[in-house]
């Protein structure tokens, strides 16, 4: 799992992704999102934590940044393809055309999604609409 500061920055800046772990009206506990799932990774002040079944979800005032795993990122885009193989081939092509060779798997998938679903590219600081 990519626990780097770079990935945490890319995730924090991707509002389109963070919205899936935002506090919602139906949450049982005030100021705590019930959208967190066991197995989620999140970052608070450059430290990375994981959520398990016997631990509480992080309160919103800590500004936890969700660090999606690769499978979680793929869930957002897999419906655009007729098969997993087709998605992987398209992803491979994206990496050839646009990918940064220093990127981790998580960073590449996040970039692929931001490009394909939201037409945004990472400039090293934030996601820029193209």
């Amino acid at each position: 799992m990519d626990k780097s500061i770079e990935y945490a920055q890319m995730c924090a800046s991707a509002e389109e992704i963070q919205i899936f772990r935002a506090v919602n009206e139906n949450s049982d506990q005030e100021g705590v999102s019930d959208a967190w799932e066991a197995g989620d990774f999140y970052s608070v002040k450059m430290r990375v934590f994981t959520i398990s079944e016997d631990e509480d979800n992080p309160p919103a005032f800590l500004n936890p940044v969700w660090l999606p795993r690769q499978d979680q990122l793929q869930d957002y885009i897999v419906k655009e393809y007729v098969s997993v193989r087709k998605m992987m081939v398209a992803f491979g092509q994206y990496c050839e055309d646009y990918g940064d060779i220093k990127f981790s798997g998580e960073q590449l998938w996040l970039s692929f999604i931001m490009k394909n679903l939201y037409n945004k590219e990472w400039d090293g600081v934030e996601w820029i609409a193209q």
Partner: protein, 129 residues
Amino acid sequence: MDSSMRYIAMCLRATQIQEIWKPEAGDFVWDNAGSVYPLSANNVKYYHKDKERINKFLNWMPRQDQLQDMVKPEPECAFNHVGQLVRWIDKNVSYACSVMTMEQLWLTFVMSKNYDKKWEGEKWVSMQS
């Protein structure tokens, strides 16, 4: 995370993968009671106290990033693990098409590349046989 019966079976029978497991919080496991869940930090502490007994009822289900870490790097290959997988898919189209999820695809790739094994529906068999 792929918690399908197929991926569980593939992981359970990949003894080479189970043997190299060093448990960490956030690792997904399948227990003998039939549940799939991520380990907590407390689970990991407990594991290290009684490794042998716990190994009998916990089986590791590696995430994609963990499977990618097992791919031996090839020199001068940009996006090393992705490039290697895409080339492997090209050479094994029908086999790769039988795989349902990305976890299964990476595990199949790692077993093929590192251990020369192929999934035959119920078990890993040597590709030489």
